[in-house]
């Protein structure tokens, strides 16, 4: 899988909720082969306050139309600027980067997404469906405004929802969902979201002896494994999230078998 640098052209900017936009781009030449879980580094339109590219998980790929989509959550100046672009805008993009999810041997599988953590899971869900694996999905957010694209996930299996304020689905965190009160009927759990959530999901999967892969988000500079800024402690020492991840099996992450600590960092993606 080789990396490409393309001037992607925005086809559509869809506002999914007050904080989320989906950007659908057309590539000028054939899309490189992309795997669910891989990401791209988008060059933010120039202006004050933003210097580095911004990493985004690949949200959807359509080789027929030669389009690729990214889910943008408004968190800072870079994402605000990207969310404001109009159709026809050219965004220089380096992609696909990193290592994606591994496909299961058999289903059914569970996807767990917190907030913008659904970004890589939609692409994964589509790929799992094409592979014939039943895929249930557990989506969590602060309020109903964080729960988006449920219809897309419903095509591939059951969708369970939690919100912290109870405005949609069960009230509470994703890890408090009643799904976890029973033995987990899944062969694999795939998760993406805030680190505290991922650690809690990892504990639940471990307790249920179900293999689990998580997609980590981390502040990055280069995206290609040279700046060594985005490291995470693993069983093989500090490794770059951008090249060794962003998807890791939880067995490879140091300290993830201990009780979750509350991560106070706000993800960039």
């Amino acid at each position: 899988m080789s990396k490409a640098i393309h001037d992607l052209v925005l086809r559509e900017n869809v506002q999914l909720s007050p904080f989320y936009h989906r950007l659908d781009f057309t590539a000028p030449s054939p899309l490189p082969e992309c795997e669910p879980g891989q990401f791209a580094e988008l060059l933010v339109p120039p202006g004050p306050g933003v210097f580095l590219r911004r990493p985004f998980s690949i949200h959807a790929v359509d080789y027929k139309d030669n389009t690729i989509s990214f889910l943008i959550k408004l968190v800072g100046e870079g994402t605000r600027r990207l969310a404001g672009i109009l159709p026809g805008t050219v965004i220089n993009t380096v992609y696909p980067l990193g290592r994606g999810f591994t496909m299961p041997e058999k289903g059914p599988v569970l996807l767990v997404g917190g907030g913008c953590g659904i970004a890589p899971l939609l692409f994964l869900s589509a790929r799992l469906k094409a592979g014939g694996f039943r895929t249930d999905c557990l989506l969590g957010g602060r309020t109903e405004k964080d729960i988006i694209e449920t219809a897309d996930f419903e095509r591939n299996g059951a969708v369970f929802i939690t919100t912290e304020d109870g405005s949609l689905g069960e009230k509470g965190l994703v890890t408090a969902h009643s799904l976890f009160d029973r033995p987990l009927p899944y062969t694999m759990v795939y998760a993406c979201g805030p680190e505290a959530m991922l650690r809690a999901v990892a504990m639940l999967a471990m307790k249920a002896s179900v293999p689990c892969e998580v997609s980590l988000e981390n502040t990055m500079a280069c995206g290609v494994g040279v700046c060594l800024c985005c490291v995470v402690p693993t069983t093989e020492g500090n490794q770059c999230v951008c090249t060794e991840g962003p998807v890791f099996n939880i067995n490879r992450l140091s300290g993830w078998d201990q009780a979750a600590r509350i991560a106070d960092s706000c993800p960039v993606i």
């Binding site: 933003v50 210097f51 040279v226 490291v231 500090n238």
Partner: protein, 303 residues
């Protein structure tokens, strides 16, 4: 035909555009984008005597027109470099220079000696200016006696071109440059990162795990240019200019200020094509200004 070749302390470079240590890995990371043989030289990531895990996360903070890093010289040590990384580097058809760092004079000497035995490592760049390690690093580069001592000690064991990378975090970079010249350096590269800091006001916490880190990117270019200008006027050694070079025009400015060659660092993170674009931009500049040989631009500032 524009002649981009330059000579630097006995190293013949196909062009004056090098990649800065820690921003280009070991070359192959950029192979999907362009041939890593294209830069005039590749300065590979800092190597120390022992493996180093580096600093805890977070190691990076974006700033206005730049970034802070606090990587802390993460690398697998000289023995791993010799057996696993060096064989791959030999496949790249350009000048390969190793960046050497340490926490004691002895550890610098150990790495330099082992690097001297490697034919394809044509020179070393002595890193006495890393701001992100507790012992050694910048401590050597911020006092004249220690800068001289470490340079002289490495000089004794290293017969090939010895480049010393200077820290801007000093009262007088010219004095440090003179000390390093007295220690036997063949060339100087400047500047390493400027010591800086970022604070998250909402959390009332530092952004970096190490509190302070090294600032790089276009934000530091004026400081770097000034220091290259001062050092090249005061010290009779070739200088490699580093600091915020992102476009051909930036590289030309450093050459005019007196640098014989330049290094592109942080720009590689933002624009993976920065180096080939700068090389072709230099050719355009030479055509526009009727400059046949790029070396004629060195120190060509009109006052």
């Amino acid at each position: 035909m524009e002649d981009l070749r330059v000579e630097l302390c006995g190293l013949r470079l196909k062009n004056p555009v090098m990649t800065a240590s820690g921003t280009f890995g070991y070359g192959h990371e950029f192979a999907d984008f362009y041939d890593p043989s294209l830069p005039g030289a590749i300065i590979v990531k800092a190597t120390t005597a022992e493996p180093r895990a580096g600093n805890p996360y977070p190691r990076m903070a974006e700033t206005a027109s730049g970034m802070l890093n606090a990587v802390g010289l993460q690398n697998k040590g000289i023995d791993y470099f010799v057996s696993n990384i060096y064989p791959e580097l030999q496949k790249i058809d350009t000048v390969i220079i190793a960046n050497v760092s340490g926490s004691t004079v002895e550890s610098y000497v150990e790495v330099a000696e082992k690097m001297a035995a490697l034919d394809h490592i044509r020179a070393i760049e002595l890193n006495i200016s890393c701001p992100n390690v507790k012992a050694g690093g910048m401590a050597f580069g911020t006092s004249c006696p220690s800068a001289l001592a470490v340079t002289a000690a490495v000089r004794k064991v290293y017969p090939k071109p010895l480049i010393v990378k200077l820290s801007p975090n000093v009262t007088s970079i010219v004095e440090i440059a003179r000390a390093v010249a007295d220690g036997g350096a063949d060339a100087l590269s400047l500047i390493n990162t400027l010591l800086g800091m970022a604070i998250d006001a909402e959390k009332r916490k530092p952004v970096l795990s190490t509190v302070t880190g090294g600032l790089s990117g276009p934000a530091i270019k004026p400081v770097a240019l000034r220091m290259v200008w001062q050092v090249t006027r005061a010290v009779n050694l070739p200088v490699i200019g580093i600091g915020g070079i992102a476009r051909a025009g930036d590289a030309v400015e450093f050459l005019l200020a007196g640098a014989t060659a330049v290094q592109v660092g942080t720009a590689n993170f933002v624009n993976p094509m920065a180096v080939p674009e700068i090389i072709s931009g230099l050719k355009d500049y030479m055509i526009r200004h009727r400059v046949a040989q790029i070396r004629d631009l060195v120190g060509g500032l009109i006052l």
